[in-house]
Every structure is written in structure tokens, then in C-alpha cells.
């Protein structure tokens, strides 16, 4: 029983060291942020019921969305290629095909109304410093402005992929992929890296990518990081809270609030898991097998010891 006591002492000091050098410092050093389930409580609730058909007319017409945005599913191609668009606006305006599935409808409405406010970028774009956000505010098309916005949101939702068909790729590419590269999935800010047969084609693509990144740097101040290993360098909780409101962790960051819905955020997380930690499931399953084996191994080792030591006492 003396050995048991020694084991208790060793374990207590080991666990105390672990607590003091791992658990406690991460609590002390952590910047605390809480998730509110992507509810965006600061934005006004949607009160009007939208009409998709009227919304379509607005998006394609008086709302003037299609002048800058591609809406591929509705047959509206991008007015410019990504590199040209970025040099004009700082960043390539998103294709609106699936925004209705990825973003929170509440956020979409607030964004149409006043982009800099919804994106929490008013510290950067305001009347005082004379800078305005590249996307103009929607001042209404003559009718009830809130109703018109609700119509446009309804239209965007009607053309987007249904919830059960929303893939991690669509969510990530729509919400994050115009600023962030993920080179482990071969994603660049101007799209998926194709297979190149010739060195020239490769260099051409790379040049476009670098030009696009230059526009981003001019627009944001620095190049947004490659997110390949973020699932392991930041972890799920951080990414989740950061996506909900980047100001949670970095005050004054150039990164806008993304405005994804809860489902959209989950899909983005799936994408990052696939990119940075695709072997997580294998780790658990192999781990279980190894543990079962080791427990059996330990039982046999103890039995062997007992046999050998029987006549040593």
C-alpha cells in the first residue's frame, strides 16, 4: 500500500504542475469572448415579410446589385474578373448566388441598408475621415424601404441552395474565400488553383493571385492570413467567436463582421476541419483500438509480474 501512497503523491504533483502550467495560464492569458449563437442582437429584427418576385426586380433593377455582383444562378455573370474587380473595389464583390443560404437574413437586410454599420467597419469608413465603404447604401427605390429590403432578402434566399444542400465549400468560398487563401485545399482568393500543364499558365495564375493580393493589402492594410491550419492554431471556439464578431478579439481589425448564419458558420468550420485536421476521426478510431490493446497488454504484464514475484516474497 506504500506504493499506492507514492503513486498518489506523484499524481498529485504531476496534475498540479499540469494545472499550473497549462490550464491556469490559458485562463489568465485568454481574451474572453462569448458566442451569442450568431443572433446579431445589435441589428434590427426583420419585421416585414418579403416577396421574392418583387425582390428579383429590385436586385436586377432599381437596387442595382447586379451592376457589381455576379448572380451566376440567375444567369447574371460577373461584370469584371476578380483581379480587375479587386483593383476597383479593394476586394472582389461576392457572387450573390448563395448568400441567402450562408448569411443571416437579418444581417443581409442590415447590410443592404448600411454596409459599414452591419460589417462593423464604421471605425474605418465614416463621414469624419471622408472614406465611404465601396458598396453604397440602399436609399430605397421609392416605396417602403424596409419592405423593399425584405423583398430583396427573400429573393436572395429563394435562389440560394437549400439548407440541406449547403456544402462546406460553398459556405467557405462565399463567406471567407475572397480574402483568405487556404493552400492546403488549393484555394486562392481568385478561386481554386487549376491543374497546369505549362509553367507559363502556372505563373500567369500566380501573377493574377499576387495582383489580387496587392489590392487586398491596399484595402485592408495587410494580407489576411492563410487559414490552412487555423483549426489547430486557433481552435473551434476562437474561430467561432471571431467569425461572429472579429472585434471580440482584435479591436479595430480591418476584418469585417462576416454575418454568417449559425448553419453557415458550421459549414465554414467543417471546411477548416477538412483543410487543417482531416485525420481527426481516424485519430479517435485508431486511438480506441490502441487503448483496448494497451489495457489488455497491461493486464498481462501485471499477471506476469505476479507470477514471477510469487516466490520472491
Amino acid at each position: 500500500m506504500k506504493e499506492l501512497l507514492i503513486l498518489v503523491i506523484v499524481s498529485v504533483f504531476t496534475l498540479a504542475t499540469y494545472y499550473l502550467t497549462e490550464t491556469l495560464p490559458s485562463k489568465v492569458n485568454e481574451i474572453h469572448a462569448e458566442s451569442h449563437g450568431f443572433a446579431y442582437a445589435d441589428l434590427p429584427a426583420l419585421t416585414k415579410k418579403g416577396n421574392a418576385a418583387r425582390g428579383k426586380a429590385l436586385v436586377m433593377g432599381a437596387g442595382a446589385c447586379s451592376g457589381c455582383h455576379a448572380i451566376t444562378v440567375a444567369g447574371n455573370p460577373a461584370p469584371m474578373d476578380p483581379v480587375t474587380a479587386a483593383s476597383a473595389y479593394g476586394v472582389n464583390p461576392p457572387d450573390l448566388s448563395n448568400v441567402g443560404a450562408v448569411y443571416s437574413p437579418k444581417f443581409l437586410a442590415a447590410l443592404i441598408k448600411n454596409p459599414a454599420h452591419a460589417l462593423i467597419l464604421e471605425h474605418k469608413f465614416n463621414a469624419k475621415n471622408g472614406r465611404s465603404f465601396p458598396m453604397p447604401q440602399f436609399y430605397g427605390a421609392g416605396g417602403d424601404k424596409d419592405q423593399e429590403i425584405a423583398d430583396m432578402v427573400a429573393y436572395l434566399q429563394s435562389i440560394a441552395v437549400p439548407k440541406d444542400k449547403l456544402t462546406p465549400d460553398i459556405a467557405f468560398q462565399t463567406a471567407c474565400g475572397r480574402c483568405h487563401a487556404v493552400h492546403y485545399t488549393k484555394w486562392t482568393q481568385i478561386g481554386q488553383t487549376p491543374k497546369f500543364k505549362k509553367e507559363q499558365a502556372k505563373l500567369e495564375f500566380r501573377t493574377k493571385e499576387l495582383n489580387y493580393q496587392d489590392s487586398l493589402i491596399a484595402y485592408l492594410g495587410k494580407l489576411p492570413p492563410d487559414l490552412s491550419m487555423y483549426i489547430r492554431s486557433r481552435g473551434e471556439e476562437y474561430i467561432n467567436n471571431f467569425m461572429e464578431d472579429p472585434q471580440n478579439y482584435i479591436k479595430g481589425t480591418a476584418m469585417p463582421r462576416v454575418g454568417v448564419s449559425k448553419e453557415g458558420a458550421e459549414k465554414v468550420m467543417d471546411y477548416l476541419k477538412k483543410a487543417g485536421d482531416p485525420k481527426a476521426a481516424e485519430r479517435t478510431s485508431v486511438g480506441k483500438d490502441v487503448m483496448i490493446f494497451l489495457v489488455i497488454f497491461a493486464i498481462f504484464a501485471i499477471l506476469w509480474k505476479k507470477e514471477v514475484w510469487k516466490d520472491l516474497h
Binding site: 490502441v290 490493446f293 497488454f297 506476469w304
Partner: protein, 182 residues
């Protein structure tokens, strides 16, 4: 002694369990030596046969790091292959890949003797391997030892005017079955 045999048994049982663990680790070690997914994914190459316009000219492509000889035959060559009663040439025509009535040789450009790359001599319409003097006719069939057989043909699949190297199409499977290639 009854006691000692029982002790021996536990020791052996422990050893057996440890051996199971060792075999398990060996499995993981073996898997770690396998070619990577990126290597396997790069094992397919598509070539467009309409790119090879000039007949009796050797084109060299790459597939899985190996040189692939591609040559379009002239009508005279085809006639030669069809007419000849030479014992080698009887096999030649079966080696051809025919797409839209045009005959092509597509084969792995490594000598079947020890893997050197033979050179094509358009004037003599044959291949000569510099390493040990092995020779092949223009269709890739061996005409002079030491090579034991003609050039090997890579797995291919005909898709329209293109060939996907690395995939096994019906034409390739037939060649395998009839022993035209290994």
C-alpha cells in the same frame, strides 16, 4: 514443477500479447511507406492524339515519371505492318492504337532489358538501345536481344481523340489478355 510451468505460461502469454502489438505497429510502419495520395493522384496523364501531326516523328511525353513514346505511323508503315510475314511484324499491328483510322504507337520508352531509353532512328525506322545494343522495329517490337520483349504499353483508355494514361480501357485490357503487353 507445476509452479514453474505456469510461470512460463504467463511469460509466454505476455510475450504473445506484446508480439500482437509489434505486428500492429509494423502495419502502421508499412502503411507509412506507401506512395502518398498526391503521388497516386498524379498517376494519370491525358494526351491528345491530334497533337501528333507529323508521322514518323517521335514525340516523348511523361507519365508516372517515365518517358512515353508517341509516334504516328505513315501509310507506308501501316502497309508494311499489314503485309509482312516476318514473325515479329505479325505482332506489330496488334500493338497499334487506332483512333479515327489513324495508327499510333504509344508505349513506355524504356528498354525491357534493364530500363535505358532507346533512341529512335527515323532513317532506319528502328530503335537502338545504347546500353546493350537491343533493337526494336518502328512499332516497338523487339528485333534484337537482349531485350526479352517489345516496349511495354502503359494502361490507357481512349476518350474521343484523347488517351488517359493510367486508366485501363477495353482496348488495353484486350492487349493484356492477348499478351501484347505485360
Amino acid at each position: 514443477m507445476k509452479n514453474s510451468s505456469r510461470r512460463g505460461f504467463m511469460g509466454k502469454a505476455f510475450g504473445a500479447v506484446a508480439a500482437v502489438g509489434a505486428v500492429g505497429s509494423l502495419y502502421a510502419m508499412k502503411k507509412s511507406w506507401d506512395p502518398l495520395p498526391s503521388v497516386k493522384a498524379a498517376g494519370f496523364t491525358t494526351i491528345d492524339l491530334s497533337d501528333y501531326k507529323i508521322a514518323n516523328k517521335m514525340y516523348v511525353e511523361g507519365w508516372r515519371g517515365k518517358p512515353i513514346f508517341v509516334m504516328k505511323f505513315t501509310p507506308e508503315m501501316i502497309k508494311k505492318m499489314e503485309a509482312s510475314d516476318n514473325k515479329y511484324k505479325k505482332n506489330d499491328i496488334a500493338r497499334n492504337i487506332v483512333v479515327d483510322g489513324e495508327h499510333f504507337m504509344v508505349c513506355i520508352g524504356l528498354c525491357t532489358h534493364l530500363g535505358c531509353i532507346p533512341a529512335y532512328r527515323p532513317d532506319k525506322e528502328n530503335f537502338l538501345c545504347a546500353c546493350h545494343g537491343g533493337m526494336y522495329d518502328f512499332a516497338g517490337m523487339v528485333t534484337k536481344s537482349p531485350p526479352p520483349r517489345g516496349f511495354d504499353i502503359p494502361p490507357f483508355k481512349v476518350v474521343g481523340k484523347t488517351l488517359v494514361l493510367g486508366e485501363e480501357g477495353p482496348e488495353y485490357k484486350k492487349m493484356l489478355a492477348t499478351g501484347v503487353t505485360l
